[in-house]
């Protein structure tokens, strides 16, 4: 493979050119209720060539490695077409020439576990969930594992092989009574260890019980509250509320955003620190190299409440006159790399959950994340469940908790950060443009945020 890819790169007439080839094997298992829904094996094989000529990028993706030179020329033609109509020259930040081969640092390698064992484990969880209570009448079990051989060569002389893994699961319970339907789940994920799928017996039963308890809970009253976010919700919050804003390909072409995201700009209290890292091994999104062949790293986005960095590709780093951060990621061979997060975290602080709760007269505790979205200015995120806080104490449960905020203001409303810290993985992923789901993970302690808008009944 090395020779084939490097030979091709030597034929390029572009200013810069790279090729990626990915060979991925996938196993999917899912249950819906008692019945096994799907057992699936997949091979996803393909490659792509990216070329830069003057101001233009060309990109072509394919399944077959035949006629690669013809494909290279097509990508060059695309780049030339842009270069003809667009002034300027795309600069790339310098990158080291790397020749490397990186195996994944496996704990339990899912390829060594039989399909039967994986299936029986999921079936076991499914039975536990469905036998918890007669009101638990359905379930949603999802398991997947991906193994990828990833090859990369560039016209600068870099050639890298890396082995990548991605494992994820969702063990969810649905409870029903009359017209009410409620849901709770346990999730897991890793870039290198099947054992994260094991040992969830007690947790799945607890999740099923919570789904049943939620049946009685009223929908939260809409309004503006002080809110405590558990680590999972806080992780979702940091991802949506600040992570996406830090992706530099969104920033560098827009002079207003560039101004808003200048290093030194204050976005949060002085005790707020946020980073993104590609080297949190064991978590979804970790890898040695990004999809431009650059080493990944830990990058602080906010330190002491101020902007200190962004997530860069080589192009965005050159435009913003800084170093690339190994954040150029593509979902798979069908897509060019763009600036993306990996494991995004709020660093732990000094407070305890008890102190946070006791400091609230009337507020909300939002627990477990179902998903979120941002449009660059506003964001939303939805909790699995909620609990009201009254007079400094946890009170009744509520459901259908969706929160919203403004990316430029909400971090400033954080007034307490916990000592606890957990990185959470699940079976979902992050979406940006048409590339979804990309494996990511999030870490945070409990945090408290003032004046959060909550949707709900009047």
């Amino acid at each position: 493979m090395q020779k084939k890819l490097q030979n091709l790169m030597s034929l390029s007439k572009a200013d810069y050119c790279d090729i990626r080839v990915e060979d991925t094997e996938i196993t999917n298992i899912s249950y819906r209720g008692r019945e096994l829904e799907k057992m699936e094996r997949k091979i996803q094989f393909g490659g792509c060539i990216r070329t830069l000529i003057g101001s233009g990028w060309g990109f072509i993706s394919f399944n077959s490695l035949d006629n690669l030179e013809e494909k290279l020329r097509q990508a060059e033609d695309q780049a030339r077409t842009i270069n003809r109509v667009k002034k300027g020259q795309v600069q790339l930040a310098p990158a080291p020439v790397i020749i490397a081969e990186e195996k994944n640092d496996w704990g339990e390698d899912p390829r060594q576990i039989s399909l039967k064992e994986k299936l029986e484990l999921m079936q076991h969880y499914n039975n536990l969930i469905l036998n918890t209570d007669s009101r638990v009448n359905s379930s949603r079990i999802v398991y997947f594992d991906h193994h990828t051989d990833w090859f990369f060569a560039s016209s600068s002389g870099t050639y890298i092989y890396q082995e990548k893994g991605d494992i994820g699961g969702n063990l969810g319970a649905w409870a029903s009574a009359g017209q009410e339907r409620t849901y709770d789940a346990v999730t897991f994920g890793s870039n290198n260890d099947f054992s994260v799928a094991r040992g969830h017996d007690e947790q799945v039963v607890a999740a099923a019980r919570r789904a049943v308890e939620q049946l009685q809970a009223p929908t939260v009253r809409g309004g503006q509250y002080p809110v405590i976010l558990d680590p999972e919700m806080a992780g979702l919050f940091v991802h949506e509320a600040f992570g996406h804003l830090s992706e530099a390909d969104e920033i560098f072409d827009d002079k207003n955003l560039l101004q808003l995201m200048q290093p030194g700009t204050r976005y949060g209290p002085s005790f707020l620190n946020i980073y993104d890292s590609g080297r949190e091994w064991g978590n979804r999104g970790a890898s040695h190299y990004d999809d431009e062949g650059l080493p990944t790293q830990k990058t602080y986005l906010i330190q002491n409440g101020e902007v200190v960095g962004h997530l860069h590709s080589r192009e965005s780093a050159a435009r913003m006159e800084t170093e690339p951060t190994g954040s150029a990621r593509a979902m798979d061979y069908r897509f060019p790399p763009i600036c993306r997060m990996r494991t995004t975290c709020i660093e732990p602080g000094l407070d305890t959950l008890e102190d946070m709760i006791s400091g609230i007269d009337y507020g909300l505790y939002a627990i477990g994340g179902l998903g979120g979205e941002t449009n660059g200015e506003l964001f939303t995120f939805t909790a699995t469940r909620g609990q009201m806080i009254r007079n400094g104490k946890l009170a009744e449960q509520v459901k259908n908790v969706t929160l919203t905020g403004n990316v430029f203001h909400t971090l400033n409303n954080i007034d307490s950060i916990g000592q606890d810290f957990a990185i959470l993985n699940n079976a979902g992923g992050c979406g940006k443009f048409e590339q979804s789901p990309l494996p990511t993970s999030e870490g945070s302690p409990h945090i408290r945020v003032q004046n959060v808008i909550v949707g709900g009944e009047g």
Binding site: R32, R41, K42, V85, L115, L370
Partner: protein
């Protein structure tokens, strides 16, 4: 590769082969940014042996053997199924191939996109336009061991148009997403007019007190709140006992003003095709007629469980609707606005997809919404959320259905005026 060679005696099977070719032109911040192209070929084999279903997919060329091996391996432990693959049947042939469009050159895709950028930036020099034009040509071939063999070609043009205006920390952004089988179905002028109208209305932010309001949902945002309906009409939710609507065919579910049709073979429909992913002929039928349940969304497996026949909604991940058409009413958008003393117009939402479909509760950020006062748009409301129970709202709170419908992806929708939608909003002193 033929199916015959993949199967062993006693096995039933189905081979789906999908080839696609696409070109994407992308303008960001008013400038031509990217040209991408791609070719893909996928083969998906479903195999039934001993009553158990295996599933495998492959994109690696020249490795067909893997497909049979993987499908057989999964079938050993796969789900028990009772359905049989369908045999040959007469098929309708909707118009989904744009011969002229398919022959379009790269420049033909770039020109209208550039024109969009020029028109929007000449309207206001600080407007930043995003345009993505994606031209896709697909060839789908399906055959099974019951004797079905079918093939169709389909073109599609997916166009994302957006404009953004940033003033200080205030961001005003509006977009539309179009998907058409034929290039000449795209009305660029109308889209520009609509986007600029939404920008004009949103230049000024205004205050609104939290509370319950009559709310006009534009056709696009009606699409954002219909998903719990789709989920609850889906055969999967019915057979799992999750849908609150099982055993309710023939019952009045929502307002008699609303009729929702699954249109599988509509000419030029973005989701139209002659047969579904399982070889069942596609057709058109009502899901809800004057608010009464008429049909569920079924594939082979869910139909078999319910003792019915698949209605051609088989997809790669279980049953799914084709084109969804909500029948129009009689009210114009202008009349809906001018009739309101105080209310809200929701033009874009965000995050409304997250949550629990079977309870019907939908909450989302009003990422673009306007306050209406005394029959006029007053300005934009920000930092606001809407929340409603879709089942209840569509049953009890529909006060008008729009006359004009527009396409949003594969949904053709009118606007709706709903009473008493809860709006939470940032209090004015913060």
């Amino acid at each position: 590769m033929s199916l015959k060679k993949l199967l062993k005696p006693g096995e039933e099977g189905e081979l789906l082969q999908k080839k696609s070719r696409q070109v994407t032109v992308n303008f960001q911040n008013n400038r031509l940014k990217k040209i991408n192209s791609g070719e893909q070929k996928r083969e998906i084999l479903r195999l039934i042996t001993g009553g158990q279903l295996g599933l495998a997919e492959n994109t690696r060329p020249d490795s067909h053997g893997d497909l049979g091996r993987m499908a057989r391996e999964t079938a050993l432990m796969g789900p028990r199924v009772d359905f049989a693959f369908p045999g040959p049947a007469p098929l309708e042939q909707p118009q989904v191939w744009d011969k002229q469009g398919a022959e379009m050159k790269l420049e033909d895709l770039i020109d209208p996109a550039r024109d969009f950028v020029e028109k929007t930036s000449s309207y206001h020099s600080d407007l930043q336009a995003t345009v993505q034009v994606n031209k896709v040509e697909k060839q789908v071939h399906l055959e099974n061991s019951s004797g079905f063999k079918g093939e169709y070609f389909k073109s599609s043009f997916e166009v994302l148009l957006g404009v953004r205006l940033i003033e200080g920390q205030n961001m005003l952004e509006t977009y539309s997403f179009l998907e058409h089988t034929h290039w000449d179905s795209i009305n660029w002028e109308l889209e520009i007019e609509d986007l600029l109208q939404k920008i004009d209305w949103g230049r000024q932010n205004v205050n609104l007190s939290p509370g319950n309001y009559p709310v006009i949902m534009t056709p696009a945002t009606v699409g954002d709140i219909l998903w719990p309906l789709e989920e609850c009409l889906n055969g999967k939710a019915i057979t799992r006992g999750l849908s609150p609507w099982q055993d309710q065919l023939g019952e009045q579910a929502i307002s008699p003003q609303l009729t929702l049709i699954n249109a599988g073979t509509l000419d030029r429909g973005a989701a139209s095709k002659p047969f579904d992913r399982e070889g069942t002929p596609c057709s058109s039928f009502p899901l809800l007629e004057n608010g009464v349940f008429k049909n569920y969304i079924l594939d082979l497996e869910t139909a078999e469980k319910l003792g019915e026949k698949s209605n051609g909604c088989g997809g790669e991940n279980g049953p799914g609707p084709a084109n969804l058409l909500l029948e129009p009413g009689s009210e114009t958008m202008e009349a809906m606005i001018s009739d309101l003393e105080e209310g809200v117009l929701i033009a874009q939402t965000m995050g409304a997809w997250a949550g629990n479909p079977y309870g019907g509760q939908v909450s989302g950020n009003i990422s673009l919404g306007y306050k209406i006062k005394n029959g006029r748009i007053q300005g934009r409301i920000k930092d606001a959320m809407f929340s409603l129970n879709v089942f209840k709202a569509l049953k009890e709170k529909v006060s008008a259905v729009g006359k004009k419908r527009t396409w949003h992806g594969s949904m053709l929708l009118p606007a709706l005026l709903l009473d008493e939608v809860n709006v939470s909003i940032k209090s004015q002193e913060d």
